[in-house]
């Protein structure tokens, strides 16, 4: 009986770990929707029309989504 209780407790803990391990908690980075800081010139527009309104900063972020970083490499791992 004692062993069964221990086992059940361990299973509950590991299930909780499994769920937390498989769930991605994404921290919004700069450029993600919802984290935009409107540029000075945009503040009037946003205030007038509510949060749904697009800002120049959002447009700029989305405009450069195809930008390739010069330092980015194709990684295949080292040989040594």
């Amino acid at each position: 009986m004692k062993w069964t209780i221990v086992l059940v407790c361990l299973l509950v803990v590991s299930s909780a770990l499994l769920v937390s391990g498989c769930t991605k908690t994404q921290i919004p980075s700069k450029g993600d929707q919802g984290t935009q800081t409107p540029a000075n010139g945009d503040q009037v527009d946003s205030a007038k029309t509510g949060n749904d309104q697009a800002t120049s900063s959002e447009i700029a972020d989305n405009s450069v989504s195809g930008w390739v970083d010069e330092n980015e490499e194709v990684e295949i791992g080292e040989m040594i």
Binding site: L17, L18, I59, D61, G66, V68, D69, E70, G77
Partner: protein, 306 residues
């Protein structure tokens, strides 16, 4: 009861390992997805293919020096030479890819994965055979290699061209004109932050309605790009088995580059054996999967009739 407890512990261990495996695979996939996302046009494909060619070349350069060091210690390096020949075959194949050909991206994904596996295999074998001095000598050889430096310059130029094309496409879609900025991007004389600032300045004159329309258009294009990249990754997985014949042809070409006839014959034999062993393993896995599927089928039928 102790047996039950033991079984429970094993189950717990497996459950704990699962998220870690998922996390590692997920990271590798997301790296490749990011690379594939930029392969939307000819220049993007050229960049990634050239970068893959450079990465394989770097490992071949390192591998050659490592083999010399191993041989200098009177140790048989045949196993390492076989892996190096396989990498050479992948390099020949990457070089032959026409970026505009259908399936170029899928081939890129599969070659990248195969090159990763081979590099890992080489590293595992070489780790026990090389001293710290050898490793330093190999790193120096890689850093000073003129071929790799040349790749770096060619890739840099292509990236600048790609960034110019990409920003130009965006400008066209949202109605901005700025030839000076585009020229600067092509010459590498501007940073990403500066480009964003310029776009911000240009869009400030837009009405809220125009801004909204521009943002929707950009986001739509981003989503389409992401979906296309994911589809290519899935297609690549389906094409893994189809590559056997192609790979064999490239291996023969790579082995043909070995000048010493006795070494060539030895490597070719070892390669044939490795290919045969792999084929047998795949067949075995396939049969096991089929058996498992057959066992699962009656259950499905019962489930569907309910």
């Amino acid at each position: 009861m102790k047996q039950l407890f033991g079984a429970g512990l094993i189950a717990l261990l497996l459950i704990s390992i699962f998220p870690a495996v998922v996390a590692v695979t997920g990271t590798e996939d997301s790296q490749t997805l990011s690379l594939v996302s930029s392969m939307e046009d000819k220049t993007g494909k050229e960049i990634r293919l050239m970068q893959l060619e450079k990465a394989i070349t770097r490992n071949i350069v390192a591998g050659k020096v490592a083999i010399e060091k191993v041989k200098a210690n009177d140790i048989d390096a045949s196993e390492l030479e076989v892996i190096l020949t396989e990498l050479e075959a992948l390099r020949l194949e990457v070089k032959s890819i026409n970026p505009e050909e259908e399936g170029a991206v899928e081939t890129f994904v599969n070659i990248k994965n195969e090159a990763m596996e081979l590099s890992k295999e080489f590293k595992e074998i070489a780790a026990d055979l090389l001293a710290q001095d050898d490793i330093t000598a190999i790193e120096n050889e890689v850093n000073d290699n003129p071929e790799l430096q040349e790749y770096k310059l060619r890739i840099k130029e292509k990236i600048q061209l790609k960034n110019k094309e990409s920003v130009q496409k965006t400008f066209d879609s949202i109605g901005i004109k700025n030839e000076v900025l585009l020229a600067k991007i092509k010459n590498g004389g501007v940073t990403l932050a500066e480009v964003k600032n310029q776009i911000e300045e240009k869009t400030k004159g837009m009405t809220p309605k125009e801004k909204q329309a521009a943002l929707v258009a950009l986001k739509e294009s981003g989503v389409k790009k992401d979906i296309a990249a994911r589809a290519k990754m899935e297609n690549a997985k389906l094409k893994v088995d189809e590559r056997t014949a192609e790979k064999s042809a490239w291996l023969t070409k790579a082995a043909a580059k070995i000048s010493d006839p006795s070494k060539k014959a030895k490597i070719q034999n070892l390669l044939d054996k490795k290919v045969k062993d792999k084929k047998e393993l795949v067949e075995k896995e396939k049969k096991t999967k089929e058996k498992l599927d057959l066992k699962a089928k009656p259950k499905n039928k019962t489930g569907s009739t309910k």
